[in-house]
C-alpha cells in the first residue's frame, strides 16, 4: 500500500465579511498517495483554487481556515505558523501556477532562479546546485539545458516556461506538487506535452500531484483519481475511470453529458439549467438541489454525506436510497 502523502479532512474555509459569513469550502476531505495524480475539478467558484490555497496557507485575508485538518506525510500543516509554513512551501510542497510569465522573475536568468531556489531549500554548494539545475532542466525536457540556463524567461516559449516552472517546483524534491490550471494558457499541442511530462515525473519520482483544473479532458488524460467540487463542497470522489464512465452524482452526470467530444457525434449537448450558486446564496440541504432533475424532499432539508463504496463516493441522497434498497 503506497504511502498517503496528503490527507485533507473536513476542511472548512470561511470569509467573515461585514455583510455576513461566507463559506468558501465546506467539509472537504480527500487523500493523495505517493505517485498519484489527483484531479480537483470544478467550475469557476467551486472552490478548487481555494483548496490549493488552503493547503499552502495562502488564503487571502479575511479568509481563514476555520476547521478540519491537513496532514502532509502524517504531520499537520494547517496549524503551522507563517514562518514554519514558509519552510514547508517549496521544500515539501512544490507549486505550479497558471501563468508562467508571472511565476518567473523576468530579471533573473532561468539558471539563476533555479540555483537560488535550490540553495534556499537544500545545503548544496553553488556548483552542486548548478549541476542539479541542469539535471532538472533536462528532466523536464528543455533541450540543451547548459546554454538555455543563461537565458531569461521571455526568451522561452510558453510551454517551455511552464516546464521551467515545473522544474522549479521540483527543486527541493517535494513530496507533493500542487498545480493550479497549469496548461490553461497553453495551446492544445503544448498541453499534451505537459500532460505527458507530469505523468512521467509522477511515475519516475513517486511525487504526489494535485492537479487543479476545470478541464475534464485533461483530468482524463493525466489523473488517477478525481475529486469533483461544487459550491465549496465535494460532490464526488473516485478513480478517473469510474467518475468519467459511471458518475454517481447528478452534477457529474450532467457535466459529462455537457462536454463536447471528438469521439462521437452528439445530437444535442445536455445542458444543466441555471448556474452554480455564489457563496452568498448556497441553498439549504444539497447545494445542487435547484438544478437537479432527481431532487426529492429530503434534498432540501438535509445535506447529503459522501456515500458509496470505498473507492467511489458521491454526496447524494439517491445513492443512500439505492444502497438501502
Amino acid at each position: 500500500m503506497t504511502e498517503t502523502i496528503l490527507s485533507v479532512r473536513n476542511l472548512r474555509v470561511e470569509f467573515p465579511t461585514r455583510r455576513g459569513l461566507l463559506v468558501g469550502l465546506d467539509d472537504v476531505s480527500f487523500d493523495i498517495r505517493a505517485g498519484e495524480v489527483l484531479g480537483v475539478v470544478g467550475e469557476s467558484g467551486a472552490g478548487k483554487s481555494m483548496t490549493g490555497a488552503a493547503i499552502m496557507q495562502q488564503i487571502a485575508k479575511p479568509g481563514r481556515i476555520a476547521g478540519g485538518e491537513i496532514r502532509l506525510k502524517g504531520d499537520r500543516i494547517d496549524n503551522l505558523s507563517p514562518k514554519a509554513m514558509e519552510r514547508v512551501r517549496g521544500r515539501h510542497i512544490g507549486m505550479v501556477f497558471q501563468d508562467p510569465l508571472t511565476s518567473l522573475n523576468p530579471l533573473m536568468t532561468v539558471g539563476e532562479h533555479l540555483v537560488e531556489t535550490i540553495r534556499i531549500h537544500t545545503d548544496l554548494s553553488r556548483e552542486a546546485a548548478r549541476k542539479r539545475a541542469i539535471e532538472l532542466l533536462d528532466e523536464v525536457g528543455i533541450p540543451d539545458p547548459q546554454s538555455r540556463m543563461l537565458r531569461y524567461p521571455h526568451e522561452f516559449s510558453g510551454g517551455q516556461r511552464q516546464r521551467v516552472v515545473i522544474a522549479l517546483a521540483l527543486c527541493a524534491e517535494p513530496a507533493l506538487v500542487i498545480a493550479d490550471e497549469p496548461t490553461t494558457a497553453l495551446d492544445v499541442s503544448i498541453q499534451a506535452q505537459i500532460i505527458a511530462l507530469i505523468r512521467r515525473l509522477c511515475d519516475d519520482r513517486g511525487t504526489a500531484f494535485m492537479l487543479i483544473t476545470h478541464d475534464m479532458g485533461m483530468i482524463a488524460e493525466t489523473a488517477d483519481r478525481v475529486a469533483v467540487l461544487y459550491a465549496g463542497r465535494v460532490a464526488e470522489v473516485g478513480t478517473v475511470k469510474d467518475v468519467v464512465t459511471q458518475p454517481k452524482h447528478p452534477y457529474t452526470q450532467g457535466l459529462m453529458a455537457a462536454i463536447p467530444t471528438l469521439e462521437a457525434d452528439v445530437d444535442r449537448l445536455r445542458q444543466i439549467p441555471g448556474s452554480m450558486p455564489g457563496l452568498s446564496a448556497i441553498p439549504s440541504g444539497c447545494a445542487f438541489r435547484p438544478r437537479c432533475d432527481f431532487r426529492t424532499d429530503i434534498c432540501s432539508t438535509s445535506r447529503p454525506p459522501l456515500s458509496g463504496d470505498a473507492a467511489h463516493v458521491a454526496a447524494c441522497h439517491l445513492i443512500q436510497k439505492e444502497m438501502a434498497i
Binding site: 461585514r18 455583510r19 455576513g20 452568498s280 446564496a281
Partner: protein, 315 residues
C-alpha cells in the same frame, strides 16, 4: 431573511444609502480623520459660498467702514470688541468678513480654473489616446512643453498678452479671468496624461470594437463609451488639483499679479497683512493664513484618502 439585503432598495435615498453602505462608504467611516477633514472642508466651502449672507459686514463696501474701527485686535484681547471677533485691519475691515470673502473668491476662481483644466485635459487626453499616431505625438509634445512653464509664468504671460490686446482694460475685470485661464492652461497636462493611458487601454476592449461595428462615428464612441469609463482617476486628480489651484492663486495674488485689493483673495489678504506683522498687528495676516492652510490641508487629506481607496492595487 438573508443577511445580504440591498440597502439601495430599502432606503429613501437609494443612491446615498448605497454609497454609505458600499466599500467606499465603509472605508470612509473607518477613518475618523478623513471624516473630520471632509466635514471641515464642506463647512469651509459652505461658509465661503454664503459669505455675502453670513459675514457680519461687507468689508468691501466703503460705506460700511468706519475708520474709527481700524486696527482693533481680536475679541479676546482687552481692546477688542465682540463685533469684530478676529479684529480689523487698518481700514477698519472686519477680518472674519474679509477672510470669508477671500475664501469665496479663492474657491470660486480655483473651481473655475480646475474645471477649465479638466475639460481641456480630458478632451485632449481622449483624442490623443483614441487616435494615437501623429495626433497623439503632437498633443503629448505640446503637453511636455506646457509642463516646462510654471503656472506663475503662464499667468504673467497671459496677463501681459491681455493687457497688450486691451490696453485700457480695467484690471479688476480681467484679473479673475486671467487667473482662471492661467490655472487652466497649467494644470490640464495631468488630466490629459492619465486619461490618455486609460483611453489606450479601453479602446482595445471588445465593447469599443462592438460599437465600431454599429457604424458609430469616432466622436460618439469617445464621448459615450470611452469617457464614462476613464473618468475614475479624474476625481482624485480633481481634489488634489483643487488644493494646488488655491495655492497657485494665492501665490499669484501674493506676488501682486493676481486679484486687485478691492476683490481680494486669501493671497492678497496675506500679502497686505504681512506688512503689518512687525508692527504687532499679527491678526491681519494670521486669520487668512490659517484659513488657507486649513482649506488646503483638508482637501489634501480627502484627496489622499480617495486616491488610496480607489487604487485597486493597494487593497
Amino acid at each position: 431573511m438573508t443577511p445580504f439585503s440591498d440597502p439601495s432598495k430599502t432606503s429613501k435615498f437609494p443612491r446615498l444609502a448605497a454609497l454609505w453602505e458600499s466599500d467606499l462608504g465603509y472605508d470612509f467611516r473607518q477613518s475618523r480623520l478623513v471624516m473630520i477633514a471632509t466635514v471641515i472642508f464642506f463647512l469651509l466651502i459652505l461658509a465661503a459660498l454664503l459669505a455675502p449672507w453670513i459675514a457680519p459686514m461687507n468689508p468691501y463696501d466703503p460705506a460700511s467702514l468706519d475708520i474709527m474701527n481700524s486696527s482693533l485686535p481680536p475679541a479676546w484681547y482687552q481692546d477688542g470688541f465682540a463685533a469684530f471677533p478676529f479684529g480689523t485691519d487698518d481700514q477698519g475691515r472686519d477680518m472674519l468678513s474679509a477672510t470669508l470673502y477671500g475664501l469665496r473668491t479663492s474657491i470660486i476662481i480655483s473651481i473655475l480654473g480646475v474645471a477649465l483644466a479638466s475639460v481641456i485635459g480630458i478632451t485632449l487626453g481622449v483624442i490623443a489616446g483614441y487616435f494615437g499616431g501623429i495626433i497623439d505625438t503632437i498633443i503629448m509634445r505640446v503637453a511636455d512643453v506646457q509642463l516646462s512653464f510654471p503656472a506663475i509664468l503662464v499667468a504673467l504671460l497671459i496677463d501681459g498678452i491681455v493687457h497688450t490686446i486691451i490696453p485700457s482694460a480695467t484690471r479688476e475685470d480681467s484679473a479673475a479671468a486671467i487667473i482662471v485661464l492661467a490655472i487652466g492652461a497649467s494644470f490640464w497636462v495631468q488630466y490629459a496624461r492619465t486619461i490618455r493611458s486609460s483611453t489606450m487601454v479601453e479602446k482595445n476592449k471588445d465593447y469599443v470594437s462592438a460599437a465600431r461595428l454599429f457604424a458609430l462615428p469616432s466622436t460618439t464612441i469617445m464621448v459615450r463609451h470611452i469617457i464614462p469609463n476613464v473618468m475614475g482617476p479624474v476625481l482624485v486628480i480633481l481634489t488634489i488639483n483643487f488644493g494646488l489651484a488655491i495655492i497657485t492663486e494665492a501665490t499669484l495674488s501674493y506676488l501682486g499679479v493676481g486679484l486687485p485689493p478691492m476683490q481680494p483673495s486669501l493671497g492678497t489678504l496675506i500679502r497686505i497683512g504681512q506688512e503689518y506683522l512687525f508692527s504687532g498687528q499679527w491678526w491681519i495676516v494670521a486669520v487668512p493664513s490659517v484659513a488657507l492652510g486649513v482649506l488646503v490641508l483638508t482637501i489634501n487629506l480627502l484627496g489622499d484618502w480617495l486616491r488610496d481607496v480607489l487604487n485597486p492595487k493597494l487593497r
